[in-house]
Symmetry: C5
Subunit: 153 residues, 5 copies
């Protein structure tokens, strides 16, 4: 059975991991292993450990704040997640929601829920249906909100 690692933070203000796990369970039969770390900069090593321990793919959830320093932290975490992938040759799907992406707390929660679920579908496709992703190539998909769609010529 395919194994999906999940790592999220106590810093985030929404249980995105829970939403993603629920979505995954509806889509396919996978073994899920979940870990939680304090903040987004703690995600890369925990994601790498999950991959080294045999998970086929990892989802990494984070919710950076709205200040410039939060953007910097997210940047560092993202680079770490990319390095962890290059060291393991496996995907880590980064699911970050920035505090300034929505106008209200409620809207932000909806965005977080939807993005988590849509990225769970991406994980499902990467594991079981890669040809579905290629059908969607260049079509302007956006996780959590309305798709941008393909460019009109």
């Amino acid at each position: 059975m395919k194994r999906v690692g999940i790592v999220d933070t106590t810093f985030a203000r929404y249980d995105m991991a829970g939403a993603a796990i629920d979505e995954l369970k509806q889509l396919c039969n996978v073994k899920v292993e979940r870990r939680t770390v304090p903040g987004i900069k703690d995600l890369p090593v925990e994601a790498k450990r999950l991959l080294d321990e045999g998970n086929d793919i990892v989802m990494a959830f984070g919710m950076p704040g709205a200040e410039p320093i939060d953007k910097q932290c997210a940047h560092e975490a993202s680079l770490g997640l990319i390095m962890a992938q290059l060291l393991t040759n496996k995907h880590i799907i980064e699911v970050f929601v920035f505090a300034d992406e929505a106008k209200s707390e409620k809207e932000l929660a909806v965005l977080a829920e939807n993005r988590a679920r849509e990225h769970a579908r991406n994980v499902y496709r990467l594991l079981f249906k890669p040809e579905e992703l290629t059908k969607l190539a260049g079509t302007g998909q956006r996780e959590g909100g309305p798709d941008a769609g393909p460019l009109r010529r």
Copy 2:
């Protein structure tokens, strides 16, 4: 036969990979293997996997948005692509088109189509005609738009 890996995203709004594959097929006889990932930060590990599996070179296509955070994502993806190259000793030709590089959707689509095709020619040269690249050294080539040309003294 030389093998060319292709990786693109569902986030992009134009099928640059399709254009590049078409161009490559006109230029030379190569085996093409295509993969699609959700976004540009997923490109580095997929490109590395394609190289590790025996491809001689990879083209990585992405279309980052126009916001500062999109520039940051592109920066992270670019660093990952450079690291993947250093780990494999093979080229990954990054073909990124930024959403703010053109004034209209139509213009952006034309730019994407042309840049993809011109970089396919670069891949052809790197694989089969490296001396053609040296003839073009320092001549101000620009992929997808008018060349800048050499400096006039």
Copy 3:
């Protein structure tokens, strides 16, 4: 017995390491090893050495200044700490307090003391009670100040 490495700087203006060690000693029975380096950019290699020498986790304390160049130094240190974790597969809990996070010296000292202690509790949980962290996942924890709490829908 679990071993916790501690590394801090002479540049910082508060003994955060002392506070964290005190907190750790109240929470659990661990062996603590402390090292001090001049500034935050010296933290990554010292943290890696502590991990290579057998410590199970490291806490890295720093107090960057308020200027743009200080933010850049903190960024470099953070990236180094993330790389050190990926090379050792162990956590380094970064405890940074920025000089511009508080309005007075007194407030900054209180923040540093509290953040150090709260992160010591994170270290305790990572070592002995990982399930407590998952109970806190997505709840908006903030180390050193009032928690943001979960988003209200």
Copy 4:
């Protein structure tokens, strides 16, 4: 015989590599191997390949544009060149000229020519006369323009 690798781009608008090779040939007897890639982000892996294939040092030439995104590309290329050096334990002398370093095309061409030649002299010194570099330590050398000179106390 010492071997010097040369890598430049078709993006650049001046044949800096040609100038550097001419200068090197006047200074010493070395074997030169030249490669050309499309843009500056393609330099790191090609430089690494040249070093892995036995070159003692590499010169990497690039001419980034004047836009913020060009500065970002140069930053990525520079980091890649530094990583390539750390992986090979050999020097890569980066010779970048930014499009906004001069007021006219002519002035930019002169700067590019002179910087390439002065860095060729640095390569010569690194290979054959390291003690000459130490004599110049702290003297404010500037490649391609007037030297800043040592600070007056």
Copy 5:
């Protein structure tokens, strides 16, 4: 006998390495090996070579200019120095003085001299008296200028 590697640049406008070596010689009996490279981006690989060749620690001296691009170069050099440390498990003490840190050339020269000497003392402590650094932990030490001191509560 402990061995200290020294690497500086011809770009810098003050002989910081000379000052540091003088200070080291007064403090302890160590073997010093000095190398000079053109600019700060050449420091990381030379520092790594000095460490690989058996030096116990390295001091890396640089004096970046005042322009944004100079800050970017310093950032790249700093990241390279951190990576070099992680690859060798040894300290590289970075001694950078920015051209805009002082109001006059004379003031800048004094700062460079003093910072070099104070960091030489840090090297001495790291090699022979690490417990002295821990006594100074959190006390707001500043190399080259007046110390900030510990925070008052």
